[in-house]
């Protein structure tokens, strides 16, 4: 095991930081604070173009697919650093969808979809969950039927938690193509352009202020070739993508920043003149967070190292996902405790410490405990896949 960055990794990180120094402007931060990820055009869009120009959307793709051929560790370093700076980097389209197309897609899938993804022109919303099937993806009911006469898939159904649909170009849509097969066997993945007739998006606003969506599909028709890989094999593709998604979602870059900022804030006098860090109990809690972020960071490096060796580290990523999501909640709660009443001030209040970052984090944190696989299901995964305990029939 090597616990230090090697020369190549150090140089890469320096390049990423240089890019961020140049492109993370106050205007970009202001737009993000105001619009989160929801704003079409403007500073965020320009920032995304700059990332695309570096080729970083496909940084860990093979060169043959237009990627840079860098390793999962490079990817991890970049994503963590973007998180640390609080800016959006490569999203699920490049980190989870594209790898599955490379691994399982037909030659036509690859030719048709990978180049626009690499250019940042094709962005997918991920259509897995349905109103009546949350974590239990395999019970999904959105149907796709092949119309032999036109060679088109005809899709009917609806999806929920369809995040980013309002700024996406396509759906990476999970559908049932064989209603008679056992639950996991009749599922396929189909790419659906979001501007197609019959697709409708309804916003859902989360506690965090984040916008997600419901998506409705009413006799939506797409070419047969929009099916990814083989028919009725979709379960494998989405579970693979989910593992990658969990990996991408569970870097601790933003948590490191949150804790560093909190440590710094705790050393400053508050409005009433008290300094939180003068209280040894507060210091003890902060030290606990620092130690947890260090462990989370190491978990991230371990998962990336395993990915770089070609394995999908399901158990490690589940561990990391649980650990970081519960840590996020501890950070938010500790911060609000330390800041006292001032910590309740919301972000538009000019007196809010760090522009209300922790008040917001408290509202954001719950999502990652249940999102991307509930922590309960992932604990089952650790026990069953990591320690060969028997399934209890879920």
């Amino acid at each position: 095991m090597q616990f230090e960055l090697d020369d190549d990794q150090r140089a890469w990180l320096a390049e990423v930081r240089e890019f961020l120094s140049a492109h993370v402007t106050p205007a970009l931060k202001a737009e993000l604070a105001e619009h989160d990820l929801e704003f079409k055009g403007g500073e965020v869009a320009a920032f995304r173009r700059a990332i695309g120009e570096k080729g970083w959307f496909g940084l860990n793709w093979p060169v043959e697919y237009g990627g840079l051929g860098l390793s999962a560790v490079h990817q991890h370093l970049l994503v963590s650093e973007f998180e640390y700076w609080g800016v959006p980097g490569p999203d699920l389209t490049v980190t989870s969808v594209a790898p599955m197309i490379m691994r399982h897609g037909t030659e036509q899938n690859k030719a048709e979809f990978l180049p626009p993804i690499a250019r940042g022109e094709m962005i997918c919303a991920v259509g897995y969950s349905e109103p009546d099937a949350g974590t239990d993806l395999a019970s999904l009911r959105t149907r796709a039927v092949l119309d032999e006469s036109t060679g088109e898939w005809v899709i009917n159904g609806s999806k929920i938690w369809n995040s980013g649909a309002q700024r996406s170009t396509h759906e990476w849509l999970c559908v049932r193509t064989d209603p008679d097969a056992p639950r996991h066997k009749g599922i396929s993945v189909i790419i659906v352009p979001i501007d197609h007739p019959g697709v409708q998006i309804r916003p859902l606003i989360a506690w965090s202020g984040y916008r997600t969506n419901e998506a409705f599909f009413d006799d939506v028709r797409v070419p047969a070739t929009n099916l990814i890989g083989e028919v009725n094999q979709g379960w494998r593709y989405i579970t693979g993508a989910l593992d990658l998604e969990r990996g991408a979602l569970t870097n601790a870059g933003d948590l490191r920043r949150s804790v560093e900022d909190l440590v710094e804030l705790a050393r400053q006098p508050q409005a009433d003149g008290t300094v939180p860090a003068d209280d040894p109990v507060a210091v003890r809690r902060l030290a606990g967070l620092v130690a947890d972020v260090e462990a989370a960071t190491l978990m991230g490096y371990e998962a990336a190292s395993l990915l770089a060796e070609g394995t999908i580290p399901t158990v490690q990523v589940s561990t990391e996902k649980i650990f970081t999501s519960e840590l996020r909640q501890r950070i938010a709660d500790t911060a609000m405790d330390l800041l006292g009443p001032a910590g309740l001030l919301a972000h538009r209040n000019p007196e809010a410490p760090l522009a209300g970052a922790y008040e917001r984090l408290y509202r954001t944190a719950p999502l990652l405990r249940f999102g991307a696989g509930t922590n309960e299901v992932l604990r089952d995964v650790i026990a069953q896949r990591g320690h060969a305990l028997p399934s209890y029939g879920r």
């Binding site: 969950s129 009546d132 099937a133 949350g134 974590t135 239990d136 019970s139 929920i160 938690w161 859902l204 606003i205 989360a206 506690w207 965090s208 997600t212 009433d272 209280d279 109990v281 507060a282 809690r285 909640q329 709660d333 609000m336 405790d337 006292g340 009443p341 910590g343 309740l344 001030l345 919301a346 538009r348 209040n349 007196e351 008040e359 408290y362 509202r363 719950p366 999502l367 405990r369 249940f370 999102g371 509930t374 922590n375 309960e376 604990r379 089952d380 879920r394």
Partner: protein, 370 residues
């Protein structure tokens, strides 16, 4: 020692539960926090007045119901469950402060109107984030026959709706209580935009003039603390109500929601989350009621208040956050309302002091202050 509710207590709770269920739906709660909305729940206020809630702990000679502080707790528990607007509790807190700190005259001038629902009040008695710190935030200076009150206090609840506010002031080394008209000359109120919407204010007094009749006799710190702890203990009971409702909603959700072909609530992991919420709430409920009882008996109650806060803040935060976990995405979108309880929990868990703050009160009580 008998920790079972009496029939009278059960009846009162049931009556208040039904009243709030009928007249304080979440649609009301939500409408009151809309930007620019009138924050006063006029219809509900009327019903609560008619039910005697505003006069619960005051003597019958002042138009009150002659109840105990425990009866107020019965109301506040249900208020927490229903997220009843805090102006009711703030007004009760004002009344309790007048009752305990003021003389007959102040009582007679305020409590009857208050019990009749005709007067709304609030208090600024303790430091924000520390109910045990009852040092006065204001100063009082003699100006002929009047007093001039100056200074500022933060996180004063419902100041926008109050007719009167009770503050404490340092009058040349002695602490006095002062009952101010909330809209008198020299009173400035600035809204603080906190989690969960409006309701907290900065109170700035710039030489506000008051008569001797509006001022209490000099007050000792223990006397002041007994009031701020009583209010804090009631807030602990409110936290318990908030937690109970979050748990109830989570249980209802996992009973109905099916995943993997069975109710979510049949999974042992879901059951254990529920059990842990239940355990935390039991600890909080008993210790919050014990604190109210001790303070209602006229004891200093610091130990009980500290214990109550340590349990109630934790139980309410855990119950609301774990309710989110049990609801998944379904509880995370604004339209399903759960966040309203989560925000109330976090706000109430902060204002009178966090668990760490309360632990410092308790440490002092058991001789561990160093």
């Amino acid at each position: 020692m008998k920790l079972v509710a009496s029939p009278e207590e059960r009846d009162l709770r049931a009556m208040l539960h039904d009243l709030l269920a009928a007249e304080c739906p979440t649609t009301l709660v939500r409408s009151l926090r809309e930007p620019g909305a009138d924050r006063f729940p006029a219809t509900l206020w009327k019903s609560l007045t008619a039910a005697g809630v505003l006069g619960l702990p005051f003597a019958e000679e002042y138009g009150g119901m002659g109840g105990r502080l425990d009866d107020v707790a019965t109301y506040v528990l249900e208020a927490g469950r229903a997220l009843a607007p805090s102006v009711v509790t703030s007004t009760l807190a004002f009344g309790i402060a007048v009752d305990r700190l003021g003389g007959d005259d102040l009582r007679a001038r305020h409590l009857p109107a208050l019990s009749a629902g005709e007067l709304r009040g609030t208090i600024a008695l303790a430091a924000p984030g520390n109910a045990h710190d009852a040092r006065p935030a204001f100063t009082a200076q003699r100006d002929g026959a009047r007093w001039r009150i100056s200074g500022q206090a933060e996180y004063v609840p419902d100041l926008d709706l109050a007719d009167r506010v009770l503050v404490t002031a340092d009058a040349e080394g002695e602490t006095i209580g002062v009952v101010l008209a909330a809209r008198a000359d020299g009173v400035r109120s600035e809204p603080l935009d906190v989690m969960g919407g409006p309701g907290q204010f900065r109170l700035v007094l710039d030489g506000v003039g008051v008569e001797d009749a509006d001022v209490t006799a000099p007050l000792g710190a223990p006397q002041l603390r007994a009031v701020s702890h009583a209010v804090a203990a009631l807030h602990c009971v409110e936290l318990v109500g908030v937690a109970e409702e979050a748990l109830r909603r989570a249980v209802e959700h996992v009973r109905e929601r099916h995943q993997f072909g069975r109710p979510l609530g049949s999974f042992q992991a879901a059951q254990h989350l529920v059990a842990d919420m239940h355990i935390g709430i039991q600890a909080a409920r008993l210790s919050a009621l014990a604190a109210v009882a001790a303070l209602g008996r006229g004891e200093s109650g610091v130990r009980e208040s500290a214990v109550a806060r340590m349990h109630a803040t934790k139980a309410a935060k855990v119950a609301t956050l774990d309710a989110h976990q049990l609801h998944g995405g379904m509880g995370y979108v604004l339209e399903t309302d759960l966040h309203l309880w989560s925000e109330r929990a976090r706000v109430l868990a902060t204002l009178d002091g966090t668990a760490d703050t309360a632990a410092s009160w308790l440490a002092e009580e058991v001789g561990l202050d160093s």
